[in-house]
Symmetry: C2
Subunit: 169 residues, 2 copies
């Protein structure tokens, strides 16, 4: 199963915060997501695809994540990462699909690795496109950064208040 | 809704990792949990109680979290945090109970704050008891550290490979 591999830190800041975010819709349950965000700095997304996930799901996920109001701005108002505007750090995290079986974790719900890589690549590309076509993001020069699918990677987070959510699609 | 308040960093280390861990059992769905662990160092738990959660659930949650094999030891074997042995950092994280409604997050599933504080205090106390009565943990001098319920707090994580799980009880 994939782990993270590439060092991809969110930009250093004195006052940033994490949001973890993920969701589940039992009727579909094709996709599980956890997001951490650096409030006033951006959004950290932990992403895991389940068996049955397909390309149609990707635009919906991207639209939700980039537009839901999870980030706190200078006036303590919650805004979307596009409106912040902030960086987006995407972390492929297949372990999110695990379930405890006795004392061990099992990952039977996870998508096959090749299909997962395909969906992950589409997800990253669409996030990049959305930021690249958003005027505020362009002006601020914010970026999408992402981990390498299937590998372990270094991660450091620095927060003045973790703010964790879960969503499933 | 509660946010984190107390600074409670996991001990610094060159080689530690994070695990986030949470689970859901739809038939109960009284409790949602996300855990991050510092592999070879301990376990970070993000915890949120849903409406309907009660005292009976606490021992089950503690037993699962402290005994499931989520931590990697020096020989790259997965062991429980009790067997590692490692520190446990508990973070009350009510935002885990959120669901997106349009562009905003709503937290209608979360337990009332007073009851949540009561369950959180029991959870922390039971974790402390389990570590205090475990020979390996006693010898290694590992500790339970925890955030303050209902407040925002600083959190820093440093990892050589986040390893995130979700469990619901």
């Amino acid at each position: 199963m994939p782990l993270l591999s590439q060092a991809c830190n969110i930009p250093p800041a004195e006052d940033k915060e994490i949001i973890h975010f993920s969701s589940k819709q039992e009727t579909k349950a094709r996709f599980l997501l956890a997001i951490g965000t650096s409030i006033q700095r951006g959004l950290v997304i932990y992403i895991c695809f389940f068996k049955g996930a397909d390309e149609d799901l990707v635009p919906k996920i991207v639209d939700t994540l980039l537009n839901v109001k999870l980030s706190e701005n200078e006036n303590s108002e919650f805004v979307s990462v596009l409106d912040l505007p902030g960086d987006v750090l995407i972390i492929p995290q297949a372990t999110l699909g695990g379930k405890p079986k006795g004392r061990r974790m099992q990952y039977h719900a996870n998508i096959e690795k090749e299909k997962g890589l395909e969906l992950y690549s589409q997800f990253v590309a669409l996030c990049e496109k959305e930021l690249a076509t958003n005027a505020k993001c362009l002006e601020a020069g914010v970026l999408v950064k992402h981990g390498t699918y299937g590998n372990r990677q270094v991660l450091k987070l620095d927060t003045n208040g973790p703010y964790t959510h879960l969503i499933e699609f």
